[in-house]
C-alpha cells in the first residue's frame, strides 16, 4: 500500500467516523451512527495491518482476542446505573494504551525510524504524560463513583503546591526530551520521570474532586484520553490516531463546558479543589440509624436532622396523607423530576408505573431532566430509557421550566440541589446562580427523598419548609412510590 493511498483511506475513515457521530444526534439514527463508527475502527485496524505489512504477526491477534473477551464481558454485564464508572474505567485503559504506545515510540521499539526525531521524542513523552494522568485520574474517578473510595474530596497538606510542582516537572521533562538523545541516559531519565510524576499528578488531581463534580471530571478525562491518543498518533505518524483523537478531545471538552455551565462551576474551581463541600456534610449512601426511622417520618414526626442543621418540622403531613390520592387522581398535568436518588433506589421502573397510572387517569405526564441529574452527562435519560419511558416525554430543563407554573403536580424523586430555590435567591450559598428546575412554582409538590438533609452542595432547601401543597414522602424512593401506587389502585 503506497502512502498516498494510505492517506486517502485515512481521510475517508475519518469522514466515516464524523458521519457516525453526526448520526448520533438523533435517536432514530444513533444506532446506525454507532455501528458506522465501530465499523470504521475495524477497517482502520485492517488498513494498519496491511500498510505496515504485519498481517503475519500472530501475537497481535492473540492480544486482541483477550481484549475482545474482557471488553465484551463488560459491555454485556454492566448495569446502566454503573455507566459513569464504566466510562471512567474505559477512559483510563485508553489512556494507558496511549501511554504505552508513547513509551515504545520513545524507546524506538516497533516504529519505522523517521527524520523528525525531536518531534517524535517530545510527542512520545507528552503521550506518556497525558495517557498516565488519564489512567490514574480515571481510576480514582471510577473508584469514587463505584464507592470504593470516599466521595468527599481528599485534601492533602500543600495539595496545590504538590500539583503545581509536578506540573512544572512534567513540562520540563517534555522540553528536556527534545534534547534527550544527545545526553547519556537522557531517554531513560525522561521516561522514568514522566512515568512517576504523571501517575502521581493524575492521582493527586482526581482525589481532590468531590463525588458530585464527577460528571465534569469524567467529561474532562474523556477529552484527555482522546488528546493522549492524538499525541501518541503524532509520535508514531499515524494519521487516524491524530484525527480521531482530536475529535474525541473536542467532544470531551464540549461536554465539560456544558456540565460546568449547568452546575454553575468554573473548571478552574473544580481542578483547584474549590469544592462546595469543604469540610461540610456530604450525605451519601445510607446512614444506619436512619434506615429504620425514615419511613415513620411520614406520620409527622420531626425529622432526624444532622448536627449542623436544625431539624425541619414537617407540617401538614396529616392533611396530605388524606388527599394524596385525590390530588393525584384529579391532576391534569404532572411533571416528574428524577434525580440521582431515583437511580440509587433503582426506582425508575416504579416511576414509569406511576406515570402510567396517572396517564390512565387522564393526566399529561412529562419528565424534567436537569443537565447534571445523575453522575454523568445524560445519565438520567439512559436510566429512564431503560425503564421504557418514551424519550419524547423527557424534557431538558430549558424546554420545561416555564411549564411548572401551569402544572398541577410536580413529583420529585431523589433530587435536591437541582430543585433548590435557594440557587435563585440566596446569594451567599455555593449553588447561587446555578440553574434549577422551578419545582416550587407547581401547585402541589410531592417529594420522595431519602431524608431532608441538604444535598451534595450542603445548602438547606427552603422548599421543605413550605406549608401548603407540599407532600414529603421520606425514605427509600421505592417504598414511597409503592405506597403512592397502592393508594391509586
Amino acid at each position: 500500500m503506497s502512502s498516498t493511498v494510505y492517506i486517502i483511506i485515512c481521510a475517508l475513515l475519518s469522514v466515516a467516523v464524523l458521519l457516525g457521530i453526526s448520526l448520533m444526534s438523533r435517536v432514530k439514527t444513533a444506532v446506525a451512527g454507532n455501528l458506522i463508527s465501530a465499523f470504521s475502527v475495524f477497517l482502520a485496524i485492517i488498513v494498519t495491518l496491511l500498510f505496515n505489512n504485519i498481517l503475519e504477526s500472530w501475537s497481535i491477534y492473540l492480544f486482541m482476542l483477550v481484549g475482545v473477551l474482557i471488553g465484551g464481558a463488560f459491555a454485556v454485564r454492566v448495569k446502566m446505573i454503573q455507566m459513569p464508572q464504566l466510562v471512567a474505567l474505559f477512559n483510563g485503559v485508553g489512556g494507558l494504551a496511549s501511554a504505552l504506545v508513547g513509551i515504545l515510540s520513545l524507546l524506538g521499539i516497533g516504529i519505522i525510524a523517521g527524520e523528525y526525531l525531536v518531534f517524535v521524542n517530545v510527542t512520545s513523552v507528552l503521550a506518556i504524560i497525558i495517557g498516565l494522568v488519564t489512567l490514574t485520574g480515571s481510576l480514582v474517578a471510577a473508584g469514587k463513583l463505584h464507592k470504593l473510595l470516599p466521595q468527599k474530596p481528599v485534601i492533602w497538606k500543600n495539595h496545590s503546591a504538590i500539583l503545581n510542582f509536578s506540573l512544572i516537572v512534567l513540562i520540563m521533562t517534555a522540553i528536556f526530551s527534545a534534547f534527550s538523545k544527545n545526553i547519556s541516559f537522557g531517554v531513560e531519565i525522561a521516561l522514568v520521570v514522566s512515568i512517576i510524576v504523571s501517575l502521581l499528578f493524575g492521582y493527586a488531581f482526581a482525589i481532590r474532586v468531590g463525588g458530585a463534580d464527577m460528571p465534569i471530571t469524567i467529561s474532562l478525562l474523556n477529552s484527555l484520553s482522546g488528546v493522549a491518543g492524538a499525541i501518541a498518533g503524532m509520535a508514531v505518524s499515524d494519521l487516524l490516531l491524530v484525527s480521531v483523537g482530536g475529535i474525541v478531545g473536542a467532544s470531551g471538552l464540549l461536554l465539560t463546558q456544558i456540565m460546568c455551565r449547568a452546575m454553575n462551576r468554573s473548571l478552574k474551581d473544580i481542578l483547584t479543589g474549590k469544592t462546595s463541600v469543604t469540610g461540610k456534610i456530604a450525605v451519601t449512601g445510607k446512614i444506619p440509624d436512619q434506615i429504620g426511622l425514615s419511613h415513620d417520618v411520614i406520620t409527622g414526626a420531626a425529622v432526624p436532622g444532622n448536627d449542623e442543621h436544625e431539624p425541619i418540622e414537617v407540617a401538614s403531613v396529616e392533611v396530605s396523607e388524606k388527599t394524596t390520592e385525590e390530588i393525584l387522581k384529579s391532576a391534569k398535568s404532572v411533571i416528574i423530576v428524577p434525580g440521582y436518588g431515583m437511580a440509587l433506589a433503582q426506582a425508575q421502573h416504579l416511576v414509569r408505573q406511576l406515570a402510567d397510572i396517572l396517564e390512565a387517569n387522564g393526566a399529561e405526564v412529562k419528565y424534567a431532566i436537569h443537565p447534571v441529574a445523575g453522575r454523568m452527562p445524560g445519565h438520567m435519560n439512559v436510566l429512564l430509557a431503560e425503564a421504557d419511558v418514551p424519550y419524547e416525554k423527557l424534557f431538558e430543563m430549558d424546554a420545561v421550566n416555564d411549564d411548572f407554573v401551569t402544572t398541577d403536580v410536580a413529583i420529585v424523586i431523589g433530587a435536591n440541589d437541582v430543585i433548590n430555590p435557594a440557587a435563585r435567591e440566596a446569594k451567599d450559598t455555593p449553588i447561587f446562580g446555578m440553574p434549577v428546575l422551578n419545582v416550587d412554582q407547581a401547585k402541589e409538590i410531592f417529594i420522595c427523598n431519602y431524608d431532608l438533609n441538604p444535598g451534595y452542595a450542603g445548602v438547606d432547601n427552603p422548599l421543605y419548609r413550605r406549608t401548603e401543597g407540599l407532600h414529603l414522602l421520606l425514605g427509600d424512593a421505592k417504598d414511597s412510590l409503592n405506597e403512592i401506587i397502592a393508594k391509586l389502585n
Binding site: I21, G71, M80, F90, N91, L96, I109, L239, I247, V248
Partner: protein
C-alpha cells in the same frame, strides 16, 4: 510524516468534531460519551503497529519489551473499543425500542 501536517490534521479534526458534536442533544449525551470513549481506543492502531513491527524486526533487541508493553496496550485498547461500542449499542437500543412499540 511531516509534523506540521500532523498538527494541522489534529486541529482540523478537533474543530470539525466540535461543530458536529454540538448538535447532539443532552438526551443522548451518555451514549455520545461512551461512543467517544470507544473511539479513544483508536490508539489500538498504534499498539497494533508497534507489536507487529517489533515482532518481525530484524534487530531482536526490543522484541520482548515490544511484545510485552505493546501486548498490554493492545489488550487495554481493545477492551476500550469493544466494551465502549458494545455498551453504547446496548444503550441506544434501549432508546430506540419504544419507537417500534408506538
Amino acid at each position: 510524516m511531516n509534523p506540521i501536517f500532523l498538527v494541522l490534521v489534529f486541529i482540523a479534526a478537533s474543530v470539525v468534531g466540535y461543530l458536529i458534536i454540538k448538535n447532539v442533544p443532552s438526551l443522548l449525551h451518555t451514549p455520545l460519551m461512551s461512543g467517544m470513549n470507544a473511539l479513544s481506543g483508536i490508539t489500538l492502531l498504534g499498539a497494533v503497529a508497534a507489536v507487529g513491527l517489533s515482532l518481525i524486526a530484524v534487530d531482536s533487541g526490543g522484541r520482548l519489551l515490544g511484545q510485552l508493553l505493546g501486548g498490554i496496550a493492545i489488550i487495554a485498547a481493545t477492551v476500550n473499543v469493544v466494551g465502549g461500542f458494545g455498551v453504547t449499542h446496548r444503550m441506544l437500543k434501549m432508546f430506540d425500542k419504544k419507537k417500534k412499540k408506538l
